[in-house]
């Protein structure tokens, strides 16, 4: 077990080094921070001094090592657009994105899983067919369009929910939360549904497909023959065995949630990291972009690791396979 974790961690390091390299290359070679920071009028002496202060006169690999070392300490340079340290900017925006993604993930699981089980068991019922048709729409509609339509219906026409921002937030030292105020909770509803809808339909369709597969298998027939109750068969035997692919997809989709939070945050003007990234890209604010890339790489590597560990916990067969094929990968 520990060996497994270690080997996965070792595999993650090259990924981070490569992404760090790209991120550094962006930082160092795209745009010219010196002319941007000096502005219109400057003397050659000022320029040379700034180049020296920024460490741009040092060899490439020294600069790269310094960049990574600073990144490890949460220093990513200064945003060209806002003239503030990028680390602090991102830290400030982190709670908004985390809360949005978490609520969206919970929404997707809590609605998607039962619907998938239901449509898998009652395959031919009217309700199942309606749900399946709607799920097809959920997969094909782009995220931003879902957001716009929800705003149109619930904010513009009905006026029930706010259409932008986080509402009132409560601050705890570094963290700000919208969970504790009514307006904060109300502001979460539409963005979370927008962000979670695609994942929900995905989970639902996946659980349904897996349930159909599993319910056909011999051990379910045997469980029926033993006279177990429907509930025990459906939930105790069938659902449990659908969980491996579901965990993979849900895990990998957390990355998707973060990526699509960019879109959702833009639609709802949600003050998170995604909105920060979009605003930075439109003015080529490279330090923010490279820091975002590094951060998201760390998150994705961590998610992949956790997904692998969850497999291990859920599927005992994998332990055997891994042991048998150890070293062959």
């Amino acid at each position: 077990m520990i060996g497994f974790i270690l080997s996965r961690l070792l595999q993650a390091i090259p990924v981070l080094i490569v992404v760090g390299f790209i991120s550094f290359a962006m930082f160092a070679f795209v745009g010219d921070p010196v002319t941007i920071m000096l502005g219109q009028d400057y003397t050659e002496a000022q320029r040379v001094r700034l180049v020296h202060e920024l460490g741009l006169d040092q060899p490439f690999f020294v600069q790269y090592a310094k960049f990574m070392w600073k990144a490890l300490h949460g220093e990513f340079g200064v945003s060209y657009r806002l003239a503030r340290p990028v680390g602090g900017l991102i830290l400030e925006r982190l709670p908004a994105t985390t809360e949005l993604a978490a609520v969206a993930a919970v929404f997707a699981l809590v609605i998607g899983l039962p619907l998938g089980v239901y449509t898998g068991i009652r395959r031919t019922s009217f309700l199942s067919r309606v749900v399946m048709i709607f799920s097809l729409l959920g997969v094909s509609l782009p995220t931003f369009l879902i957001g716009i339509l929800l705003i149109l219906v619930f904010a513009v026409l009905l006026g029930w929910l706010p259409s932008f921002g986080r509402g009132d937030v409560v601050h705890f030292s570094h963290w700000s939360t919208g969970f504790l105020t009514l307006s904060g909770l109300k502001a979460l509803v539409l963005p979370a549904i927008t962000l979670g809808l695609f994942q929900m339909t995905l989970i639902m369709r996946l659980v349904r497909a897996e349930m159909l597969e599993v319910l056909r298998s011999d051990y379910i027939k045997f469980a029926r023959a033993r006279g177990l109750s429907q509930r025990a068969i459906n939930f105790g035997h069938a659902l449990k065995n659908t969980l491996v692919p579901v965990i993979t997809i849900v895990g990998l989709q957390i990355g998707g949630l973060l990526a699509f939070s960019i879109v959702t945050e833009t639609v709802f003007q949600w003050p998170g990291m995604g909105l920060l990234l979009v605003q930075s890209i439109s003015v080529a604010d490279i330090p923010v972009m490279s820091a975002y890339l590094l951060l998201i790489a760390v998150v994705f590597v961590a998610i992949n690791l956790i997904v692998d560990l969850l497999y291990y916990a859920v599927d005992p067969r994998l332990r055997m396979v891994r042991r048998a094929s150890a070293g062959s990968r």
């Binding site: 990924v15 795209v30 729409l137 997969v139 149109l152 990526a259 960019i262 979009v278």
Partner: protein, 311 residues
Amino acid sequence: MSATVRKPPGLLARALDSDFVYAFSRSPVAIVSFAVVVICLVGAFFSPWLAPHNPFDLASLNLMDSFKPPAFMADGDAAYPLGTDDQGRDILSGIMYGARISLFVGILSIGFSLLVGIALGLVAGYLGGFVDTVLMRVADIQLTFPSILIALLVDGVVRAVLPREVADNAEIYVLIFAIGIARWPQFARTVRGSTMVERGKEYIMAARVIGLSSPRIMLSHIMPNVLGPVLVIATLNLGLAILDEATLSFLGVGLPPTQPSLGTLIRIGNDFLFSGEWWITVFPGIALAMMVLSINLLGDWLRDALNPRLR
């Protein structure tokens, strides 16, 4: 036995008699989605001749016609079936011209990632060894990230690298590059897999024995045999690429308002949502969703129909 020899049926007759066409004629989903795709393609490519107005012709615009609701509503104008936007441009014509740009970007970017994916996949699969390891590692790393994120970052970096005048004129090609480069690993992996299978077969050994060069073997002997599955994946990815383009344009980092794709139209319309002019954003949205949905359904059907295991 009769003396008349039956003439072999022509190519068209054989095509119409194939399993493929039979399966198509028995699938209402395939027929309907095919029809929608054809309508979109015709409407998009012939928009200069079919569209009721030309949204780019500034002389024909009249600000008095701005914010007209769709024709079926109380103060609608029959000349503007889906209403007009803030500049008095016809929404229907805007959608047709916009779909043209969306499809153009979608098709070219998939074409680009096919090109990169097939080339790298062939090289990785055929040469194996170190090249293969490096290429597939890169593909793995890239696959960890959602393609929209990669397209967004590539787009941002390329714009920052290019001088401003160039970047402003080449926005559409920057976008095609960014979306295309975000999707090559899927194609490369599929091609690599089938190339490795083909490489071991006798006809490739024969080709080697007669002294053909590696590029020649890859291009004219292996490639035709590995293309099928990739093309099906390409259909499925076309819908996604169109969505990528729409999303980037909606975020304001895609196409500028001077080259409005469906995504740009939706973004422009979004500004008027709160003042009640919902049609400016909803109709382009419906058009986009229908186009993508039917391409996806057709791609799904194609995948199932061409997969002999599912017959």
